[in-house]
Symmetry: C2
Subunit: 329 residues, 2 copies
């Protein structure tokens, strides 16, 4: 995408629901190139006034729990009801593995060919903070394109859930029903964030353990204090293969959104999230402005060398470099 | 400390080795009050040219492993040899527990009354990043006061070790010799950072398992790639109570410093650390300048309200707030 992009044209195509334009825009937002970041940022600003109010749902669980097949089944059930569903992913490990370990499109067969679904499962690499912000901006683009349900897949390692929590309204935790050790492998802090626990792969041999697992999770959830949303977390069993229980997941989701909408929790939670993103955006923008300032670049190189040699102390050097830095007039 | 501090006088007292002045200065550096931060920062700048080259040693291990008693015995052995020893601590959990869980002075009886030792075991609370920086500045103050060995106690939870690694030359990992499960409880990534493994409490019943533990740790250490310092990590057993093995710990420490001094690794490592601290200081100073700018405060409050209400998007708001922010020609 080397040619100059027409922001107005691209944003109009996104707003009209053009999936190719949406994919292009997300690529710009995910890019680490300066001119792409610039374009992506203008694009988000142009699209935001057109963003519809969607339901933002995070889906997490340890690798192997069947997140992709669940999203395929759950997402298809939602498009059947007339929703437009977008699937995004946050993967903090992608900078290490140089590629996403999250569900590829081949494991979301139904959604991938569904005209009312947009699947974007491979997130950009890089620092988690950056990835989270990019995902937050991608959400806005999807909402501008008319998607009223955004599913965000995370990898279940703890760190990603915390940042995803700052952009979703609801968290679904997928678990397996197997003999014993049900709670093993679930990172501390993740269960506390769950608004719905789904026992996945409730088929074949696993089904034998479903009731036991339900009891175990109910008991575990009971240990946590009442949620700020005042919502009581249900435990639902489902099979992404047979489709059993998917309806119940959908019903629980609806009940959750009805409750947080009515109680005002959704509004309050989103306000807090917006405050969080303002702080994040300010920090990123501050750093970006400083490090890309032409006055900085030469001076920084020189002083960094002196600091490394030990001729100048880092704290003093920082103050020197920032002398005269502030609002111009 | 409400009265205006005389930075020049206080720094002179620190450089002359006055421990009361040193303690006062560290309190300033650890403070979260704006005027204290300002004073502390001037103080560090005044002291830094007088900082001697010390050996900076991080000491870590799970709670209960006997860090405080070990530091008491090891530190006393060092002052016996004519060294001046300062003890600092980094405790990332202190903002949760509202108080340090690290060794209090009562568990460092010998060092606490040693004229050649300075013990400051209770670190300030707050965000880890901030704590680390404060500890880094406290090190500089201790070095200006003539302490040639700085021992930094950390809590063994993983996160603190990473930040301490950016300020020490050497890491000592304390472990226990007990039946089996020796490697249990040691956070991933900590053993890779160790330059010396000390099997502590090599007395009483534990002593039975010492040889087994030595073999286990040697084997575990063998799994890691060769260290950048090219140093082969020894495993030494000691008893902080009987004093056995403390001499060997000291010898291993000396060998380590001789090697990294000769090979040039120490110089290279410190240069990298200085580069790291320059980046840290720049980020902190950038944020500090922005949030304390009088032009910012009023505007930020107003725009934050609009962002929270959803009338303005966070990314656009950040750009608006930072308009005109940069070098004032």
């Amino acid at each position: 995408m080397s040619e100059e992009m027409n922001v107005v044209e691209l944003s109009q195509r996104i707003i009209s629901g053009d999936r190719v334009a949406l994919a292009k825009a997300i690529t710009l937002v995910e890019s680490t190139k300066d001119d792409h970041i610039e374009l992506g940022s203008h694009l988000v600003t142009a699209c935001l006034p057109h963003a519809i109010e969607s339901r933002r749902i995070g889906i997490t669980g340890v690798p192997g729990v069947g997140k992709s097949t669940f999203i395929d089944a759950f997402g298809s059930a939602l498009t059947d009801k007339g929703h437009k569903v977008a699937v995004l992913a946050v993967d903090p490990t992608s900078d290490i593995t140089h590629g996403s370990i999250l569900g590829d499109k081949t494991r979301m067969e139904k959604l991938a060919s569904d005209p009312n679904a947009f699947v974007r499962p491979t997130p950009a690499g890089g620092a988690l903070g950056g990835v989270a912000r990019k995902t937050r901006e991608s959400i806005a683009l999807c909402e501008a394109a008319g998607y009223d349900i955004i599913l965000i897949e995370t990898v279940g390692v703890g760190q990603s859930e915390t940042s995803v929590h700052s952009m979703v309204d609801m968290f679904i935790l997928l678990v397996l029903a197997t003999a014993g050790d049900e709670l093993q492998g679930i990172k501390r802090g993740i269960m506390e964030k769950a608004d719905l626990v789904v026992i996945n792969k409730n088929d074949g041999e696993n089904a034998t353990y479903t009731n036991l697992a339900k009891a175990t999770y109910h008991q575990a959830l009971h240990m946590f204090p009442v949620k700020n949303s005042a919502w009581t977390v249900p435990v639902v069993a489902c099979s992404s293969i047979s489709g059993s229980g998917i309806n119940e997941v959908e019903k629980s989701t609806n009940s959750f959104f009805t409750q947080i909408h009515t109680s005002g929790y959704l509004t309050k939670h989103r306000a807090e999230q917006n405050g969080y993103w303002l702080k994040q955006a300010l920090t990123e923008e501050l750093l970006h402005r400083f490090y890309t300032d032409t006055n900085t670049t030469a001076k920084l190189k020189e002083i960094e060398l002196e600091v490394k040699k030990g001729n100048e102390n880092p704290f003093n050097a920082a103050r020197k470099l920032l002398k005269g830095w502030g609002y111009k007039s």
